[in-house]
Amino acid sequence: MTIETKAETTLGITPSQTIGPFFAYALTPRAYGGPELATEQVATDGIAGERIRVEGTVYDGDGLPVGDAMIEIWQADPQGRFHASGNAGFTGFGRAETTSEGRYFFETVRPGGLPGPGGARQAPHLTVSVFARGVLVRLATRIYFSDEAANDGDPVLALVPAGRRDTLIAQRGGDGVFRFDICLQGESETVFFEA
């Protein structure tokens, strides 16, 4: 199958700008009493699947916590299906503001594996976007899970230099919580993607 684009001319896209420091009262307005579009509670009642908690801290290049970031996640359900509509059931979308200590968490269900490029299966993962003051364009990354054997065959992890792959894998602690820190810059910098 060949793909071609029809239109002869295209419009340039609207460039990205930083979310800035003052988004919370609009995008994550719990403390302001505003209506929340989505929260860190992604697993809604009645959704089957293994409940998981992912938490971590966002750090800057000096190792200081980033207390004004917004994290969004997007994921498939345990059967590896994305929902076309958020009107009912499992939306697969979560949004969280970091605390002043840079911390965030999500409570969700473990996603299933997915088809990937070239017929390879993708290991279960969360798609992650990071927005913050000082970040001009959405930073895209992924959260994989340390206890998934399928990580070894994942076609996206395979694109990442072996020495940096660990930055994409949430480690499960003794308490069952998956820990995933996001380092925007520096020695243990998280892998970010151009998508």
Partner: protein, 236 residues
Amino acid sequence: MSLIYPPQSLQAHPLNASPEYKSTLKRAPSQPLILLPHTLSETTGPVFGHVGVAEGDSDLTRQHEGEPLGERIIVTGRVLDEDGRPVPHTLVEIWQANAAGRYVHVRDQHPAPLDPNFTGAGRAVTDADGRYRFVTVKPGAYPWRNHHNAWRPAHIHFSLFGASFLSRVITQMYFPGDPLFKYDPIFQSVTDEKARDRLVSRFDIDTTEPEWALGYQFDIVLRGRNATPLEEPHDH
């Protein structure tokens, strides 16, 4: 209908490493980005429809008992894809400072007055033609300490989803002719002049309503082009 997302389009964006904007110095990744294939995780995204959007969310002048102070304005436009086709039923979230240049946010310390009749947050969903419309007041410029005598040009923050996470964007809308443009490293982080111009709304006399409010048009172009799968040649 499926969309494709040519990577060249991303060139309109600023670089995260834009050192004139000081907050990027410790927050921009230093390692090269890794090119991600567009799998289902990327080419899908949340669809909100009217979920979470209440009647009146798009009129920021009517969220309190009284009317906010400032210059009442209408901000409207269309959300389009790169082929110029409307993006219908997509969520648009906005937030802004009040007319004095002060945000409701608890950490905004600018000594300008809060307005008890203005929060500055709004939501809308585009119609079948991709159009959205907000009524608000013109935000004031505000100082921000990035460098000596640093002032942000008046702007409204916009957040959009579009068809998938590849079209997800957060940006800022500016007002035409602002004398602060040339001093603002956030606006100037978009290095291509034509791309930068796309961040500036257009005053429109036809959108302006007599005896009531000035009108500004701001179209937003999201990533995504029409992918036309050509049928395999028939071999029978």
